[in-house]
Amino acid sequence: MSVAEKTAGQPETAAPSAPAIELIGISKAFGPVQANKDISMQVARGTIHGIVGENGAGKSTLMSILYGFYRADKGEIRIGGVPTQIHNSDDAIRAGIGMVHQHFMLVQNFTVLENVVLGAEDGALLKPSLAKARKLLTELAHEYELEVDPDAVIHDLAVGFQQRVEILKALYRHADILILDEPTGVLTPAEADHLFRILEGLRREGKTIILITHKLREIMAITDTVSVMRRGEMTATVKTADTSPAELAELMVGRQVLLRVDKKPAQVGQTLMQIRGLRVTDRDGIERLKGIDLDLRAGEILGVAGVAGNGQSALLEVLGGITAASGGSVTLNGQALDLTAHADAGERREQGIAHVPEDRHRLGLIMSFSEWENSCFGYHDRPQYQKSRLLMDRRAMRDDAREKIEKYDIRPPSCDLAAANFSGGNQQKIVIAREVESDPDVLLVGQPTRGVDIGAIEFIHNEIVHLRDQGKAVLLVSVELDEILGLSDRIVVMFDGRISGERLPSETDQNELGLLMAGIDPKEGAA
């Protein structure tokens, strides 16, 4: 069942006398940056209210103020019509507000139970609290389809499950109002659907939900009303039923945005990369790849779909030279790659493999380096950046960075700013620009548009297609099936470290891919 179908049945909650949330004239500045400017907003009880806006528009800031994480410089908050002072998260929790943050607020080495109980313990001793929480958790899990193993340690859980823990945390604290900041950014479609079912359940119970997302499809599918933010201001609030994705996109970005990828048919050439029996065992001794066979051909985008944790990351990292393989072979243009620990990522780049990593914060960028230093990161030993054997040619690096800024419309257009000062979308553009401009034969791309606003998504997709049209091979890993289906010329699905199926985008759909991702091959099943 798709989300849209479910939404058809509107909630039957009575019109509430006072709005659940009322924000009046909220302003917030971070030093010289005005993140929120005189924002007013109302959310009716028992509804799902969407907030959209470009990266850095101030959505997270606004919600963090409501949740007491930041304190507003000006403005008033009313909860259920009552003016409420929210100085810290404790106040917010007392006012019945729960929040699932964009970057999860979980203690990675704690168990689920410990995370849920943290801050909401019943007494000085832990044992009774934990016992009580365990019971309640089972009940909640049952009630809202939120099953998680209470004794699992967070860092062992997939993101989808981590998010459930965040939701459970809020529910455990009896939240009436639930704020979700980009909850689906890291979820697979199946997980996202599951999340929306949960949200619907909550709405049915009369809970109020605020949902921040970059995905207009989700806004259209589940919200009752939607607000658009731009550069710290609230530019519009509309009934979802009265608007369209195109209109929202235009409201957000201030221009028309193409919502689907526009590409010519692929001109597929020779096989560039041949992967045979590739195996990877990680540090903990777990086999992440269990024998992968793939052919990557010139002029095509090969999409790799799969639920996170089924080996896609390992595939990218081993091909990118970050980790060593435990078996198998890879050839590029007929030459075998060194898959041992002796090889490194620099060598791969020399051989023509560029890599846009899944996690730009952890791998792709040095946040405190300036843009121009990031702009050649990984290619810093190329001759064009050297002045002599030891010294780097800073001028060449900057000129090069400026060119890329221009070409890729990176904003703000200053190569001296630190990477941390760019929004997520622009950070991603820095990485894409760097890897694409290195003129690779093969481009490995992981989650190219995660957390990126629609304006930037359009741009990034076009760049990837453009590279393909130059006769290069692209290996695209994404959890966004929309993206996979829209961009790829051929799709493989990974499950449990193996390829569980291969399809052409024209001959498959989300449902079939979803089954393959769960390890079920519908065709074989039929046979």
């Binding site: 994480f69 001793l125 832990l126 044992k127």
Partner: protein, 342 residues
């Protein structure tokens, strides 16, 4: 080596380990909360001084009309020692609060603050000591009620007859200064607090992800101050032990002699866990005991240089660290000030 000799070694080990253990647990609380603490040394030193100074003063007889340079005290009995320990704790807490103010409230660099505290303690103890006692920064030699002496545990003699365990109880366990037992008891207590109480849960969380604690409605600042305060108390006891519970019997400048750094090493060694901390401190204590007991080893062909034996504890630490411990991963948020808005 006979049993008696072994027990002597253990006995010495226990004494060596006590200040290390207390300081190590202090560091554990602080660092588990995300506040790096290389100021253990300074806190201990300040405490050692304050404890000795106050104990000396409290135990000295009251003189109605002292001549210049004569110490007129309170003439207290055993409470003098208690007063001394409290003074030590107080001094150490002052240092800890300074560290807290710098690194929690002002979000300053925790390493710098720690270095500063070590310097400050080294300077201020002598400065104050000199102006109080005019003995070059030393305190008067402590005696009687102003210091702790060994405590004979019940049945020590009676049980002494039992083979092995008897002498172990009599010669090693029994007869230590009360602060040694305090240190030993602090280990299970710390473990219990850390893993069985609400406070412990929050403490561990705040050192891993302060954001999680904050958004759970718990004050990060308050948690960290509590942790730093506990560290102050433990370092205070450690310092008091040095000046009141050992043969030093008083304060001598720089008398901590690097023990704070060894405690830090033990903490990392123990990967910030209480029972391993006990193990690490005992190991360091044992190595030190061995290093000083067997200084002149003649292995027939040649005599091992004293210096080698003296360096042995440190060499072994390096070897053990390289060989068996693997990577010690500190609390994730350690050393980083909790900044929400930049």
């Amino acid at each position: 080596m006979d049993l008696a000799e072994l027990f002597q070694l253990f006995d010495s080990t226990l004494r060596n380990a006590t200040p290390l253990l207390l300081a190590c647990l202090a560091g554990l609380f602080s660092e588990r909360s995300g506040i790096f603490d290389i100021g253990l040394e300074g806190k201990m030193l300040a405490a050692a001084f304050a404890a000795a100074a106050v104990a000396a003063w409290a135990a000295a007889p009251y003189v109605a009309d002292p001549f210049p340079g004569q110490l007129s005290g309170l003439g207290l009995g055993w409470t003098a020692a208690i007063l001394g320990v409290l003074a030590g704790i107080f001094a150490s807490i002052l240092m800890a609060l300074l560290h807290g103010f710098a690194s929690i409230t002002l979000r300053g660099n925790q390493l710098i603050s720690g270095v500063a505290i070590n310097f400050l303690a080294a300077g201020a103890t002598v400065l104050i000591g000199e102006s109080l006692f005019s003995m070059g920064g030393q305190t008067p030699q402590l005696s009687g009620n102003a210091r702790f002496s060994g405590l004979d545990l019940p049945l020590a003699e009676t049980l002494g007859g039992i083979p092995i365990l008897g002498p172990l109880y009599r010669d090693v366990i029994s007869g230590q200064v009360i602060l040694v037992y305090v240190a030993l008891l602090a280990v299970p207590l710390t473990a219990w607090v850390l893993f069985n109480t609400r406070f412990g849960l929050r403490l561990r969380a705040v050192g891993e992800n302060p954001g999680a604690v904050d958004t759970a409605g718990v004050s990060v600042v308050r948690m960290r101050y509590s942790a730093v305060l506990i560290a102050g108390i433990l370092c205070g006891i450690a310092g008091a032990y040095l000046s009141m519970g050992t043969s030093a019997a008083g304060f001598v400048k720089d008398m901590t002699a690097g023990r704070g750094f060894i405690a830090l090493a033990a903490l990392i060694f123990a990967k910030w866990r209480p029972y391993p901390a006990l193990g690490a401190c005992l190991l360091f204590g044992l190595l030190e005991a061995i290093g000083s007991k067997y200084q002149n080893v003649d292995i027939g062909l040649f005599v091992i240089p004293v210096q080698f034996m003296q360096a042995l504890p440190y060499i072994l630490t390096v070897v053990i660290l390289a060989g068996f411990i693997g990577k010690a991963i500190p609390p994730k948020a350690g050393g980083v000030p909790y900044v929400k808005e930049r």
